[in-house]
């Protein structure tokens, strides 16, 4: 079994399945005769526990997995219910609320800050145009007109004085003003307009995470981004499950020449550098799908419109390359299970291959299938964010956590939270999915049954 160690490519985003494959291997001591004590224990009355109940019981004892589950549920609520609660939409550009921080100062404090900044930053000095304007007004009041030369002189003077002001004095930022005045900021972002509305007693929904340069609410965008991630993860995992189960069960059940040929194909796909091909696939499929979308209004076209070409191209890229892992697991299991007596019995009763696979073989490796499918979700999310970050994934106006991170990169020093919020949510999501997947793996492993 030289290929066994190759089941997982590290660095590949595909989940590690090595130990899942060995679940049904019998340990050497399984064939030792039971002692009389063990036999007695076995006779003891015990209510029968179903496979899932038993797995759930073990899973519940795993604190880490349960905490991860709670976080996953909270994130799902955040992503799917959240956008309905917040009155803004992810592409709505709110006028007057551009580039808000996730905190605000009350109106009085803001005036104080502005006054302080004006006083200290030399903004009180006139700009050349303003100086000329003022001089012109004065001249008019006196009844004379300004000559061109005078105008140029005033302009130069104002220019110099302004330059000196900005050279000599330190630049006073808002943060310095706040520090000097000892003003405390309060949570959530509001624009001035919204603060006035609030003062008048109207209800205004705050921009909890602030807004971006185009006045779009960051929290809604994060929610929608998380939703995109979850949808991509779940759909990709299901796609992988369908293709992998079909391919793996046919290859395992038929055996012989069919199996050999199918396995050579799997081996070749396995050694393709997946990242390169996925990058290329998602870059090429998107425009192709867009063209298809605009080519008419059949059912398929409207389906493409519904899901968005970028999501579909990602599913295809994922489905084409990642089913290999799943098919190997299922093939391995089916090779083992098809030797069992109940399969022979089913065949003797005249059951067809398809029925044996779906009714007898696949249900018996459900544990492995569930675990592997679940572990595909975080790897798909990882990949989606990777592609979106590079600009070949989800594209505007739709957003995703990865593309939000790459947008935030340019203003990192001024608005670090624009990067950290989506990054933290993405990492927490992947982390808790990984932890829960590990817990699921332990809970469904019959070897750990006590």
């Amino acid at each position: 079994m030289s290929d066994k160690k190759r089941f997982h490519k590290p660095g590949s985003l595909q989940p590690n399945i090595e130990d899942i494959l060995q679940w049904n291997d019998l340990p050497a001591d399984a064939f030792e005769p039971a002692t009389s004590e063990e036999k007695e224990n076995f006779i003891q009355d015990r209510r029968s526990v179903s496979y899932w109940k038993d797995a759930w019981r073990r899973l519940r004892k795993n604190t880490v997995a349960m905490v991860a589950l709670v976080i996953i549920i909270l994130l799902a609520i955040f992503a799917f219910v959240g956008p309905a609660v917040v009155p803004y939409t992810y592409k709505q550009q709110i006028r007057g609320s551009e580039a808000l921080h996730p905190w605000h100062y009350s109106l009085e404090d803001q005036e104080k800050i502005n006054a302080y900044m004006e006083e200290h930053s030399g903004a009180g000095k006139l700009s050349p145009d303003e100086a000329v304007e003022q001089a012109r007004k004065e001249a008019e009041a006196k009844g004379t007109t300004l000559s061109r030369v005078d105008e140029a002189k005033i302009r130069a003077k104002a220019n110099v004085s302004q330059q000196q002001a900005s050279d000599n004095e330190e630049k006073v930022t808002e943060a310095d003003a706040v520090k000097a005045l000892g003003i405390k900021h309060s949570m959530f972002g509001y624009s001035n307009k919204e603060l006035q509305k609030k003062a008048e007693g109207e209800k205004v929904f705050p921009h909890v995470f602030g807004t971006d340069d185009q006045g779009r609410d960051i929290m809604v965008r994060v929610m929608v981004g998380a939703r995109v991630s979850i949808i991509v993860g779940v759909c990709a995992a299901l796609l992988v499950l369908i293709i992998g189960a079909l391919y793996g069960s046919i290859s395992g059940y038929c055996g012989g020449m069919v199996d050999t040929v199918m396995q050579r194909i799997v081996e070749i796909i396995y050694s393709i550098p997946e990242m390169l091909i996925i990058l290329l696939l998602s870059a090429t499929l998107k425009p192709a799908l867009e063209q298809f979308q605009n080519s008419g209004d059949g059912i398929l076209q409207s389906l493409v419109t519904l899901l968005g070409p970028n999501l579909i191209s990602m599913f295809i890229a994922f489905g084409l390359l990642y089913w290999v892992t799943m098919s190997r697991i299922i093939r391995g299991q089916i090779l083992q299970l098809k030797q069992q007596e109940y399969v022979t019995a089913a065949r003797a009763l005249g059951a067809k291959g398809g029925r044996i696979i779906t009714k007898h073989l696949l249900p018996n490796c459900i544990g492995q299938i569930v675990t592997t499918t679940f572990l595909q979700i975080p790897s798909a999310i990882f990949l989606e964010s990777f592609l979106s970050f590079l600009g070949v994934g989800v594209s505007a106006p739709l957003t995703s956590l990865g593309s939000m991170c790459s947008e935030a990169l340019s203003g990192l020093t001024t608005y670090p939270y624009r990067l950290f919020i989506p990054a933290v949510i993405l990492s927490v999501m992947i982390l808790s999915l990984n932890l829960f997947g590990d817990g699921l793996r332990d809970a469904l492993d019959p070897k750990l049954k006590k």
Partner: protein, 313 residues
């Protein structure tokens, strides 16, 4: 051994051929052509350009010609990004940068990850183990760009007094620090998890018990008996890890503006520079496949217990 090697080399060629064909047909499926820029050229100009670069011929003939040239070591010439420059010379210029960053990253990942994994295995159940486990699980859950931008923010001006490293890559030793740190973090965590598992496997083996019963010193048991066997599975992970470090480099190259091959590849796709896309894909794919092959063959050499003839099936 020979049979296995021959089989693997044949498979490698088939894979490479497949990658070349997939890339070729995929990039031809992208709508648009390389000649579109701010000014849309006239129909006649496009036709003339297509004829000049052989793009007017049927696709399969184009592919056949390309593969023929490729067999003679000719990667073609760039038709857009750096007009009329041989692709091979572009690769020669870009790849060393990527390779340098990648190999330093991988080196520190191995040098730190493996000892940490051993430490966790030997201190199993203590706070050291739990701490390392949490760290490594977090590490493999953070996408590369998160780590890279976090580092960028922390050390390039985000926090006062910590501005030690340049934010833009300029080839100086200091500018290598952050990209390599970011790129090596994931493999480090991965390797350490891997080492911990295989080390735990190894120290529960009978021969370790025997060594202990014989009264060997702890150090000798670890380094002479346990580590050697525990490292075998770790070695096999290096091949694919090289591939990952190269491809994960795309993100790091973007964040730190490193003029590497990965970033150039993404740009080539966006610019529809067909020969450049083909050239870079085939070059990177060949590199990754060859690395995997070498590591796999080494693995067979290192572990004499593996049956090579049976391994073929």
């Amino acid at each position: 051994m020979t049979k296995y090697t021959v089989r693997r080399v044949c498979m490698a060629f088939v894979t490479l051929l497949l990658v070349a064909s997939i890339t070729f047909f995929l990039m031809n499926a992208i709508p648009g052509n390389p000649w579109l820029s701010e000014k849309t050229p006239s129909e006649a100009t496009i036709q003339a350009l297509n004829a000049k670069y052989g793009l007017d011929q049927p696709k399969y003939i184009q592919l056949g010609k390309y593969l023929k040239n490729l067999a003679q070591g000719d990667f073609g010439t760039s038709i857009k990004m750096q007009k009329n420059r041989p692709v091979l010379s572009i690769i020669k210029e870009m790849f060393p940068v990527s390779a340098k960053v990648g190999s330093i990253a991988l080196l520190w990942a191995v040098l730190v990850g493996v000892p940490l994994g051993c430490l966790a295995a030997f201190k199993r159940g203590t706070w050291v183990d739990s701490f390392l486990r949490v760290l490594c699980t977090i590490g493999i859950s953070m996408p590369g760009f998160v780590v890279a931008t976090l580092l960028l923010h922390t050390f390039c001006g985000g926090i006062e007094g910590l501005k030690v490293f340049p934010a833009l890559f300029d080839g100086t030793p200091a500018s290598y620090v952050l990209p390599c740190a970011a790129l090596g973090f994931y493999p480090m965590c991965y390797l350490s998890r891997q080492t911990r598992t295989s080390m735990l496997d190894a120290i529960n083996q009978e021969y370790i018990k025997t060594a202990r019963a014989k009264g060997l010193k702890n150090n000798k048991i670890i380094f002479k008996h346990a580590l050697r066997n525990a490292l075998i599975p770790v070695i096999t992970y290096l091949g694919p890890q090289i591939a990952f470090t190269l491809c994960g480099g795309l993100v790091v190259e973007t964040v730190f503006s490193i003029p590497g091959l990965g970033r150039y590849f993404v740009q080539a796709i966006q610019n529809r520079d067909y020969p450049l896309i083909m050239g870079t894909t085939i070059f990177l794919a060949a590199f990754i496949i060859v690395m995997n092959l070498i590591v796999d063959l080494c693995y067979k050499l290192v572990d004499p217990r593996i049956n090579l003839v049976k391994g073929g099936n």
